[in-house]
Subunit: 228 residues, 2 copies
Amino acid sequence: MAKAVVLLSGGLDSATVLAIAQARGFDCYTLSFDYGQRHRAELAAARQISRRVRAVEHREMEIPIGAIGGSALTDETISVPDDGGDGIPVTYVPARNTVFLSLALAWAEVLGADAIFIGVNAVDYSGYPDCRPEFIEAFAALAALATKQGVEDGAVAIEAPLVSMTKADIIRAGTEAGVDYALTVSCYRADDAGRACGCCDACRFRRDGFEAAGLADPTRYQLGDSAS
Amino acid sequence: MAKAVVLLSGGLDSATVLAIAQARGFDCYTLSFDYGQRHRAELAAARQISRRVRAVEHREMEIPIGAIGGSALTDETISVPDDGGDGIPVTYVPARNTVFLSLALAWAEVLGADAIFIGVNAVDYSGYPDCRPEFIEAFAALAALATKQGVEDGAVAIEAPLVSMTKADIIRAGTEAGVDYALTVSCYRADDAGRACGCCDACRFRRDGFEAAGLADPTRYQLGDSAS
């Protein structure tokens, strides 16, 4: 069986990607990062999702990008706004996907994996530069040159199956593949129990996605009326 | 003053790069990684070098690539050979420079730095894929796309001034720039006091470099006769 490292944040997109990778026949090794994010409920969600779908192995790596600062997601002194506004929002975490993919690349090489899956999405996204197809292509080109595996046995594939899908498309595809979205946490301000604020960018994209897909939203909200 | 993040392992090459960056007028922010390497004396060397040359700030980041395994430098069950032999040697650490540069990129973005300096060298090197000019070029292309800084203000430069220099050239350049090589630790099997084994690839390249440069080798060896 071909092996894949799947970046699994515990959110809706990465849970869908994991289901897609499994449906394509990959033995999946899931990888989450503890980077000092304030929405730590997503780490518990990632563990639960990995167990539920019987990933071969789940790893949680601690990395110091939170200590570097520069983002509302890691710095308690910068608040998460309800609306990201124009341009790249303050929830952007400097070089986050580059760091995530680099560590996935290291693990993929040791495993002899054929692919790395990442749930970036350039349509219903928040304007992050490292969610665009050109970023993924540049990382794939780097990966082919960066490792012993790449030089000797051919490059690992960098798979971003959601990159051109709308949130509604993602939710439809995941629902067909059997994803239990009740387990996933997307909210930037989720409480420890994984309940969503209903107001941040991530919550809005998610709620609009379920609505556009015509599917029931299983998200648990902190306040019954905040999602209305 | 322009700012630069300088990857500083504590070895000969990175100490030289730091001197070059300072000579070019950069305010230098030095960055070392604790990745479970067995030659931990290099971390102490990096701290000492940063203090000596008055780097603006020195950071040591802990990263989990050691736990991933796959290298004699991080896995106690794989021994460091005296001679790397043909091909890519067992001292290769999976995706190490990709991970290092990614974290440097994150810090550079938060600092608003203009350049990242790295001491890779493709001449007197050990056959590592991530020490080649094509790897550096691919990372620079990635960095331009990966960050808010790259998209909004232009890409950070990835500077690898040693990439085409021989070890002797590096030692001559560093000596002119005032590097105190007695502070640096290159050996893969250095003891806690930073004394070198004299036999591993890294020791051989270093010793041959001083000889070819016609300069005295200030390296402290574990055994007086091992360097003869």
